[in-house]
Symmetry: C2
Subunit: 437 residues, 2 copies
Amino acid sequence: MEPVNIGVVGLGTVGGGTVDVLHRNSAEISRRAGREIRVSRAAVRDLDRSRSCDTSGITLTNDPFEVANDPDVRVVVELIGGETTAFEIVMEALEQGKHVVTANKALIATRGNEIFRAAHERGLVVAFEAAVAGGISIIKILREGLAGNRVKQLVGIVNGTSNYILTGMHERGSDFEPMLREAQALGYAESDPTFDIDGVDAAHKLTILASIAYGIPLDFSAVYTEGIGTIQGKDVSYAEDLGYRIKHLGIARRRGNRVDLRVHPCLIPETHLLASVDGVMNAILVEGDAVGQTIHYGAGAGANPTASSVVADIVDVVRTLTADPGNRVPHLAFQPTALTSKDVTPLGDIECAYYLRLLALDRPGVLAEIARILGENNVSIEAIRQQGTKNNDGNVSVVIVTHKTREMSMTRAIGAIEALPAIAEPVMRIRLDTLEA
Amino acid sequence: MEPVNIGVVGLGTVGGGTVDVLHRNSAEISRRAGREIRVSRAAVRDLDRSRSCDTSGITLTNDPFEVANDPDVRVVVELIGGETTAFEIVMEALEQGKHVVTANKALIATRGNEIFRAAHERGLVVAFEAAVAGGISIIKILREGLAGNRVKQLVGIVNGTSNYILTGMHERGSDFEPMLREAQALGYAESDPTFDIDGVDAAHKLTILASIAYGIPLDFSAVYTEGIGTIQGKDVSYAEDLGYRIKHLGIARRRGNRVDLRVHPCLIPETHLLASVDGVMNAILVEGDAVGQTIHYGAGAGANPTASSVVADIVDVVRTLTADPGNRVPHLAFQPTALTSKDVTPLGDIECAYYLRLLALDRPGVLAEIARILGENNVSIEAIRQQGTKNNDGNVSVVIVTHKTREMSMTRAIGAIEALPAIAEPVMRIRLDTLEA
């Protein structure tokens, strides 16, 4: 099947990330979408500036409407932000019969009703997963994954800047102002951080999520919005003393025939999983009458996580471009003819750290002998600890935590250790993982 | 548009839950799917037994093949489990041109390749979200939401029974055997718990997830599988001493051209979010090259959470039954003509607990006066605490945590408190939420 041509409006952080991801993962993306996806056209503000992404094969223009009008482009990806030009570009693309993908939360929250009406009349898709919570796929989860539920509540940490500031106030006892300056220095907050700090950004996102959760039209003006600017370091620490963490939340909660729609700082129990969502990370709790509480966690912003959702939307749209069954979402994500076998790592070759528990005679030299065996097998020790006191047979429990090594080496070392006369029973081995890829 | 008729094979826990959810949420489900979904036919083992769900309007049979052959049924929902009869029913349904929804992880993990081949040849959908991790939507997230990513690793707590046992060993210092008996008494473990305890159930799920993450054919036999039966209470507590928690994990990790596929108990850092996933809950970490680490958390089993995914799959299938654009997944989850406005709770009417911080003159009677004002406004106090010592003006910080009350009452009470001569500055108010719907 022919490649699909995509036009990207805006090659800034997210636009550059999108071009990068489409390029870097083109093989896997084609296997999933059933055809090649190619960026053929892109609009930039300044044609002379150097770009972060590889633009070879892309015809550049500084007129975004040229992208919306390009007859070869099937999908227009709007990534310039703002509510004015972006709106015109999206409407023009729909007018020209093109599907649209956008990451623009302000645009969807404030003008989504008009945009979706225009798209629906023409049988076109406007996809906007990247508008809320970066790569978490919360739109898809709410819209499709939870389609059988009545949503009871949705509670989200959806503004990374606010969460970064509150996390610093908690972890380091900082006050608001120095944390804000730090967030700005690290590029987490804009030079004008008003939208983040005052809660407007979170309110845009809550507007979109609430609409999808409850089937209500988008209504940004209905959201009560309060930011974190008044929270002081001592509030954070007093709350801590009482067993709470302060988080900036968006809350949409069904209450009889009404729905609460509000964005404000909030104390939550420190034992709740949401209380452990720190730094710039986002997380959204959705409680449905059937599913109960679910929580979805991930990076809420940044070039790559946002591009992840933009590309997912592009793949969704491309899958709808042909009506044949082969282009529905494939059962196993990849097109059936594109499944490829992959060697599974033999157990001996996996790499892991290990926890070992031994029962050893409590006498001089035994630990040294164990350490020697581990060393000879390329297993290095992170911690070794005698647990408790010796039993009636003169044996004592020893716990060892190793650094990463090959399973094969560990197995050999354990065999040698078990052969020592001072070892009273088989070694207990449990793998240890720091969950880094 | 006409209703779609569904046939359900098996009205046990999940089958009964599915009929319940379709019934209870039929209005919202129709608004999302664009047409009514009706269970017209169901197969049960024993026609004379009483049922947990309402079967009015459903023609019952004790021959599952009658459901697969019923010309009025468009979608067959297989919920009997097992690998033999279930396989025959699914193949018969496909033979008859019907779409299939199943919650059967063993079936998909061991015979999915054949089943998907048959479905693909006929242009039919076999949906199986409920086969892995109950209502978490992890199949959809991996397959569609992360379509732009190269998956680096997938690490899941996917067996609720094992996690329940390990959680009890951690929290209560129990040993394996008593926790297993408790899980059985509570209905979390089968009377024959082998599949859960030995890791086979988790290996079925990992097989499916790894296939979708990496685009590899299903190969259950390739998964290294180890259960939790050998873990002792002391391992759990020694691990704790070292800063780790023991969890039973399914791990699929890309390693060059190979992939690790393994299910075994594992130490993980106690500070990692996965370490806080307790009891029968499931959670799956997916790390993609673009999105970074995401975590998806929710109930992994049970009638309602599993039914949530079965119904989501039914809605997905129904949306594909007509090719017109109105039956694609609607932008806002509900069909555009089905959006209904809902009143937003006015801020004064929301109900919340509150954290208040006051600066008050440190003299007898002031706290009593504050407490009186709160009481008069129907605000009851959960905790009141003086923080630190008095400043140069003789004022001291007082923190109050209230029980739930109406915002309006709180606002009135704060107004009255601020009018007290002993109060030196405006009251700081932060809402407090226990995150229950």
